[in-house]
């Protein structure tokens, strides 16, 4: 894009806009502003990765009359006040500051949310010449002060739809490449489109989303291939396993048994999250499950904490087994260890999901049931959306959107667990959706035999900048 001829700074709520560089109503004073640079939030709680900053901008305000100049000042104050009220969850629109630096080649201004007043300060310090200069229809050297999101966001990068491979036979890992590489942690909106008619399934028992920065950090392992000893294979076709079949552990006693090891191709990391699709088939026994993750030649073996599989249900479950904490090394194999409370019943595995967790872009996001049919009609295909809402809201949003034009219906999950403010860095992203339906409750996955496999994954990322570009 051709470089911007001059700098443009606005404060806007989408309806009312104050252009601080228009030279007619507002103008920056000489040396009036340098954008603040944020630091990473120290908090380990989720959400925006960078902390807010306090901006201080010195401007001159003009008008064709004194009243007009005062009105321009008032408009600006009202916007910053509105930002403060929005941040306090009043029902008003959010307010953004936009900035296109002189020479920028992005083709559009970058944007940042204004959070409101800085501490106990008001939105502006007015000069002592305030009263004197009104006769010349100006207010000079007004210092605007407000808190904003530390990050500047570019235009959405609507990319990777469909991803490779697609449509997806979940929980298969899909990956995609953005047009550009993000230098900083940038928020990502994930959509899973063209989901089947929700009336086919009364309730989505939505399961787990595994998200990583690349397919080298996320792998789905077909448990069918891990047969050895007490671990045997079974087709289990009626339950729609994700691969050739399932792995069945039949205990002969109460001592721990080990499956065959299976190769991994995960890149090095220090913490590996493990999920599993499993089923306690009879409820006659309970089981303790651990996963062993090993490096080359069996070194750097690490175990997850024991996970208790109770007898509360004989339907498949998709569960988080925990973390394997490893000395940083390439992971080369994984193994299932199981202990039964009695030599009866069986424990069945469809697949394992492994994800390298030690970077802020990795996620295991559990999404609770979505009772969609109350709001989304028969015949509506729907889209599951996980939206960080980085410029429009204080919290991310997960919802199912019915696509029956012209009316859009929504359904929300009963709960989610995990950080839904998805982030991306670099140029790639990978996702696996480990989901199942509760109706019929016998299936391993989300759809019934004969139904088309879903779905189309899409990512929309706004590039994050620590300094305007």
């Amino acid at each position: 894009m051709p470089p911007a001829a001059y700098s443009t700074i606005t404060i806007t709520d989408g309806t009312t806009t104050c252009t601080l560089t228009d030279g007619t109503n507002y103008a920056l004073t000489m040396g009036g502003w340098a954008p603040q640079v944020p630091v990473r939030r120290a908090s380990t709680l989720g959400g925006r990765p960078y902390g807010p900053v306090v901006e201080s901008i010195r401007i001159n305000i003009f008008g064709t009359t004194a009243a007009a100049a005062l009105a321009n000042l008032q408009t600006l104050m009202a916007l910053i006040d509105q930002a403060d009220r929005w941040y306090k969850d009043e029902s008003v629109d959010p307010v953004l500051i936009t900035y296109e630096p002189q020479g920028s080649e992005l083709g559009a201004a970058v944007e940042s949310l204004i959070f409101g007043f800085a501490g106990d300060s008001g939105p502006a310090n007015l000069p002592m010449s305030f009263n004197d200069e009104l006769m010349i229809y100006s207010i000079s050297d007004v210092e605007l002060t407000f808190v904003r999101d530390g990050v500047w966001y570019g235009e959405p990068d609507l990319t990777v739809a469909p991803m490779v491979p697609g449509p997806v036979d979940h929980p298969e890992v899909v990956s995609g490449t953005f047009a550009e590489s993000a230098a900083h942690l940038s928020p990502v909106k994930l959509t899973i489109a063209d989901l089947p008619d929700p009336n086919v399934f009364d309730t989505y028992d939505a399961g787990l989303l595994l998200i990583a920065s690349s397919s080298n950090r996320l792998q789905i392992v077909d448990a069918w291939t891990m047969n050895a000893g007490a671990f045997t294979q079974d087709a289990d076709a009626a339950r729609e396993p994700q691969g050739s079949g399932v792995l069945v552990y039949t205990p002969v006693g109460t001592t721990q048994a080990a499956s065959n090891t299976i190769g991994l191709s995960l890149e090095a990391g220090k913490r590996v999250g493990v999920v599993a699709a499993l089923r306690n088939t009879t409820g006659l026994s309970t089981f303790e499950v651990q996963i062993r993750v090993s490096g080359p030649s069996g070194r750097s073996a690490a175990l997850t904490q024991p996970y208790h599989v109770d007898a509360s249900t004989t339907e498949p479950r998709i569960v988080v087994l925990g973390y394997a904490l490893c000395e940083e090394d390439d992971y080369s194999s994984v193994q299932i260890l199981a202990t039964a409370s009695a030599a009866s019943g069986t424990l069945v595995f469809d697949y394992l999901g492994l994800i390298v967790m030690d970077d802020p872009t990795s996620r295991i996001l559990a999404i609770g049931p979505i009772s969609a049919t109350q709001t989304i009609s028969s015949g509506e295909e729907s889209t599951l959306s996980i939206d960080p809402r980085e410029l429009t809201a204080r919290t991310p949003q997960i919802r199912l959107i019915g696509n029956l034009f012209p009316v859009t219906h929504y359904a929300v999950p009963e709960w989610w667990r995990g950080d839904a403010f998805l982030l991306s860095q670099g140029s790639t992203i990978a996702v696996s959706w480990c989901a199942r339906t509760s109706s019929p409750g016998t299936l391993w996955r989300l759809y019934d035999s004969g139904a088309a496999p879903l779905a189309n994954f899409g990512f929309s990322r706004r590039m994050a900048y620590l300094v305007p570009t």
């Binding site: 989720g46 750097s300 208790h308 109770d310």
Partner: protein, 503 residues
């Protein structure tokens, strides 16, 4: 990144995700699992009042990638000018929602009393006996009184009001001195003293008979021992009072047929809490292990289950191991050897606060029991280390020499080289293989090894090189972790507590 969220129930709807909004978020763990969580939530006044007025029982969670880190219920909401301050307590607190009144094993003799005619109308109850219930149960016919099948001297057992568990077992030692015309019995009875079943009968043989009985029977509200002249024709007793007698010692009423250990008590508590408040605690007992220690007297009157379980866990098991009790993330009560579910972590101490005091060192001990004293024993290593012999006397509540010696030796173990007080700030947490781990994974019951202490053995520093963590406190805002090393209770206290259980 972690999630802080609030739900309407543990398995219900998410009401708010406060991850980014919350300030000063700190949570703690202790031996009972998740302990406390505090945070400040900036809100506008309307929202703050809405949350304040919400009296529903709400559920707080901290999750790490969909795995539970901390779970509990919202207990306190305080209005502030800028929002609300919240405090939540871990699921262990549910055991304090109802008191417990019950009997599991009762060895008290003063719970037995002579029955009178009005207690059991229509039955042949007689007061022509001498009774005693102090330290033993004793029934003896009085000289000159009329005795026969219609005149039975009973000592009856009746638990206090509010007890729900019924007696199903009775252990006792007996001594019966009586001619063949006299008979001793034990009976199970209902709550009106009406006879259920005769559970034991022993006829006199002209001499003294003694033995031990362990009886099991169908659930009974009350019990009785009886002695009577087993002849259809009544006659005056001409012998001396005390020549014929039934003595019952070590009487032990149980409400389960097996020995009473902490495991069935814990399981029953979980069941009781679940019955009252199903969302607060699971009734599953899969994580309740059995310490195997026979508990001789477990009687609860409007008692706090948490205090009971904490005491039972502290008694340990038959191998002398300490145990722990609490509630895990999925709301299951656990009872297990202390630290058995813990992980091992390494850290490098950047700063360490250690205090040792000579005043707590006693390396030469003797025990006084009654008017006697044991020999003095000394720990020569401690004397050499400190360059000083410090001697003390302990008082043992026993008349048995061996018991007094054991208590003396245990006291010496506790005090010859006492554990110094220490606090260790944790900057980095490492796994045994050297991998850096998130600090929020560290929990009470885990073991911490400080890697960079001087490699001296048999020293004060060596005593804190490796310790079990008693309590953790993690602040999310600064990613900072504080751990409190465990100070195990002195061995002598545990020994005495267990001795009292068995007495």
């Amino acid at each position: 990144m972690l999630q802080l969220a609030i739900f309407n129930t543990a398995s219900g709807l998410m009401l708010a995700d406060w991850s980014e909004r919350a300030r000063d978020v700190t949570w703690t763990t202790n031996a009972h699992g998740d302990a406390t969580l505090t945070a400040t939530i900036p809100l506008n006044p309307i929202e703050a009042f809405a949350w304040f007025n919400l009296t529903d029982l709400l559920h707080m969670e901290v999750n790490a990638d969909a795995e539970y880190l901390w779970r509990g219920r919202l207990e306190d909401v305080r209005l502030r000018p800028d929002g609300i301050a919240i405090a939540a307590l871990g699921q262990w607190t549910a055991l304090g929602d109802l008191p417990v009144t019950d009997v599991w094993s009762d060895a008290r003799t003063n719970r037995w009393r002579p029955l009178i005619v009005d207690d059991v109308p229509g039955e042949a109850v007689s007061d022509a006996f001498q009774f005693s219930q102090s330290s033993r149960l004793y029934i003896a016919p009085r000289k000159g009184e009329l005795h026969g099948q219609g005149q039975v001297g009973y000592l009856g057992y009746e638990p206090m009001t509010g007890v729900t568990r019924a007696a199903v077992a009775l252990d006792f030692d007996y001594e019966l001195t009586a001619p063949i015309t006299w008979t001793a019995t034990a009976d199970s009875r209902d709550n009106t003293w009406t006879l259920d079943t005769n559970i034991w009968t022993l006829a006199g043989n002209g001499g003294t008979q003694s033995g031990t009985q362990t009886l099991t029977f169908s659930a009974a509200d009350r019990l009785s021992f009886g002695l009577f002249y087993d002849d259809a024709t009544p006659a005056n007793y001409t012998g001396e009072t005390g020549d014929i007698y039934l003595t019952i010692t070590n009487v032990h009423v149980r409400t389960i047929t097996s020995i009473v250990t902490a495991a069935p008590i814990a399981a029953a508590f979980a069941d009781a809490v679940n019955s009252l408040n199903p969302t607060q605690l699971s009734d599953a007992s899969v994580y309740i292990e059995d310490p195997g220690l026979d508990l001789y007297e477990e009687i609860y009157t409007d008692a706090d289950m948490r205090a009971i379980l904490t005491r039972l866990a502290a008694l340990g098991d038959t191998q002398g191991q300490q145990w722990e009790v609490g509630v895990n993330h999925i709301g299951y009560l656990y009872l297990r050897p202390r630290g058995s579910a813990g992980r091992t972590w390494y850290t490098d101490a950047s700063d360490i606060d250690v205090e040792r005091s000579l005043g707590s060192v006693w390396n030469s001990v003797y025990s006084r029991y009654g008017d006697e004293i044991t020999a003095t024993v000394a720990d020569t290593s401690s004397i050499a280390r400190y360059g000083l012999t410090r001697r003390r006397a302990i008082r043992s509540r026993t008349t048995d020499t061996t018991q007094a010696q054991t208590e003396r030796d245990t006291s010496l173990l506790d005090t010859a080289d006492p554990l110094p007080r220490a606090s260790v700030p944790v900057d980095r947490v490492l796994t045994p293989s050297g991998a850096v781990a998130p600090k929020w994974l560290v929990r009470s019951g885990d073991t911490m090894i400080v890697r960079n202490l001087p490699p001296e053995t048999n020293s004060v520093i060596d005593r804190i090189r490796m310790f079990r963590i008693h309590e953790t406190s993690y602040s999310a805002g600064t990613d900072s972790l504080e751990v409190t090393p465990e100070s195990p209770p002195p061995l002598l206290e545990v020994l005495l507590a267990r001795a009292m259980e068995a007495a």
